[in-house]
């Protein structure tokens, strides 16, 4: 006999589930002999029950119409849930068999079963990383560490991987509670892995935000804007800063939103972002010029025209002498504007 007891039991269960909407007595009446009947059928011919009789749901539909049992009006929630569960299981089974051939296997679950040892190893690694995060206190890379110790971390990794494989190989024999514990633990590790991946992704994408790392965690991280003054104490507008390689130096962030850039890229704008927030006011005409350094006055043109090509060895000096004149509070100037 090619049909097992289990197959018959499953078949009957699915037929009964498909008839879940019938009154219980009627359903029992229809299916009380079904297992015996299927055993007879199984004894008569070759092939599985599904091959011979079709899907249990189809069988149930035919049985229903032959027996003259129409769906009952009062379906309770349990019956509806049971029907839905059966339907979902059927769909999943169909999907399983449909996805199998493209993968080169009879069913997709056949293929996934082959990947299980790989998952066991990964699970061991994830458990080691979880302990790393907890014991090291947040900062961690890709290697496991125990309390920051790399060697201890590796020993832990090997131990966890072996334990995970051992659990994986024995999972079929586990009783209900240990198995549930393993499943919950695995789910926690999966969530942990996904959240770590998202974190790592964020860290790697950081540069794309257009903020120079120098302005983060550096001495300039409190700089919001840059104001360049020439030797005469005049505010230089549209100044641009470059480093020795010709790369633009980006500091601060324009928080005066009324001055929008035509390209919509505020960080590529020239300094200052917000000229009206300059710390020093404009010099009043006719005021006394403070003593300027001679080299700055001799080359006034070169101060704000760096070589962006980066080939020049000369270092563009943006503002060699920042000598802002203080606000003309002390100087008696009748023409002062403010």
């Amino acid at each position: 006999m090619t049909v097992t007891e289990q197959e018959i039991t499953d078949y009957v269960a699915r037929v009964r589930a498909a008839l879940a909407d019938l009154p219980t007595t009627q359903r029992d009446e229809l299916t009380e002999d079904l297992a015996d009947h299927l055993t007879e059928v199984a004894a008569e011919a070759e092939g599985t029950l599904v091959e011979r009789l079709g899907e249990p749901e189809t069988y149930a539909a035919e049985l229903r119409s032959a027996a003259g049992a129409e769906p009952g009006g009062g379906r309770n929630l349990d019956q509806r849930v049971a029907t839905a569960v059966v339907r979902v299981r059927g769909r999943l089974r169909a999907l399983d068999t449909r996805l199998g051939p493209p993968l080169g296997y009879a069913t997709a679950s056949d293929f996934l079963r082959l990947l299980r040892p790989g998952w066991w190893v990964l699970r061991g690694y994830l458990a080691a990383m979880l302990v790393t995060v907890i014991s090291t206190g947040g900062s961690f890379g890709l290697l496991p560490r125990f309390g920051g110790e790399l060697l201890a971390g590796f020993i832990m990794l090997v131990g966890f991987v072996l334990a995970s494989i051992w659990i994986g190989r024995r999972s079929a024999q586990l009783t209900r509670w240990p198995r549930s514990a393993v499943q919950v633990g695995s789910a926690v590790l999966v969530v942990f892995a996904l959240s770590s991946l998202i974190q790592a992704e964020d860290r790697m994408r950081y540069g794309d935000y257009g903020i120079d790392p120098a302005s983060i965690n550096g001495p300039y991280d409190r700089v919001r804007d840059v104001f360049v003054y020439d030797s005469e104490g005049r505010l230089v507008e549209n100044a641009r800063l470059f480093d020795q390689n010709g790369d633009p130096i980006r500091l601060g962030y324009p928080d005066c939103t009324d001055l929008a850039d035509e390209y919509g890229k505020p960080l590529l704008r020239a300094y200052p972002y917000c000229p009206n927030q300059a710390p020093f006011g404009p010099r009043a005409p006719g005021a006394v010029v403070p003593s300027a350094t001679p080299e700055s006055t001799s080359t006034p043109g070169s101060t704000t025209t760096p070589d962006p090509s980066g080939t020049s060895t000369g270092q563009p000096t943006v503002s060699p002498t920042v000598t802002p004149s203080p606000t003309p509070s002390g100087a008696p100037t009748p023409t002062a504007t403010g």
């Binding site: 009947h37 055993t39 007879e40 069988y59 027996a67």
Partner: protein, 110 residues
């Protein structure tokens, strides 16, 4: 209209007729129906019909132990079943005759 749909109306009669000659178990009845020419009849239909006829009190059952395979549940006609078969058979004959003459009158070949 296909045979399956026609079968729905007359499967009771067919099952009763098959059981008149000899008692039978489910799969055996299905086989006899198919041998008689009702090849499209399904297992679930026969099983469901047997259950319904049994529930209607037209059939009795008994179990026969088998040394080679599973125990088999045999169905047999009781008095009510034979009575039903006689009435249904008569009804079918007259219905079939009516249909035959209806088609004959209009020149449709058999």
């Amino acid at each position: 209209m296909d045979t399956t749909q026609l079968l729905k109306g007359v499967l009771d009669l067919a099952v009763l007729a098959v059981l008149r000659e000899e008692d039978g178990y489910g799969y055996d009845i299905l086989r006899r129906l198919r041998e008689a020419g009702l090849e499209e009849v399904g297992d679930a239909s026969v099983y469901g019909t047997l259950r319904r006829l049994f529930a209607a009190g037209l059939l009795t059952t008994y179990v026969v132990p088998s040394e080679s395979g599973p125990h088999r549940k045999y169905y047999s006609l009781n008095a009510a079943g034979r009575d039903q078969l006689a009435r249904s058979g008569k009804l079918w004959r007259s219905f079939a005759t009516t249909m035959d003459s209806l088609l004959d009158d209009r020149g449709l070949a058999a």
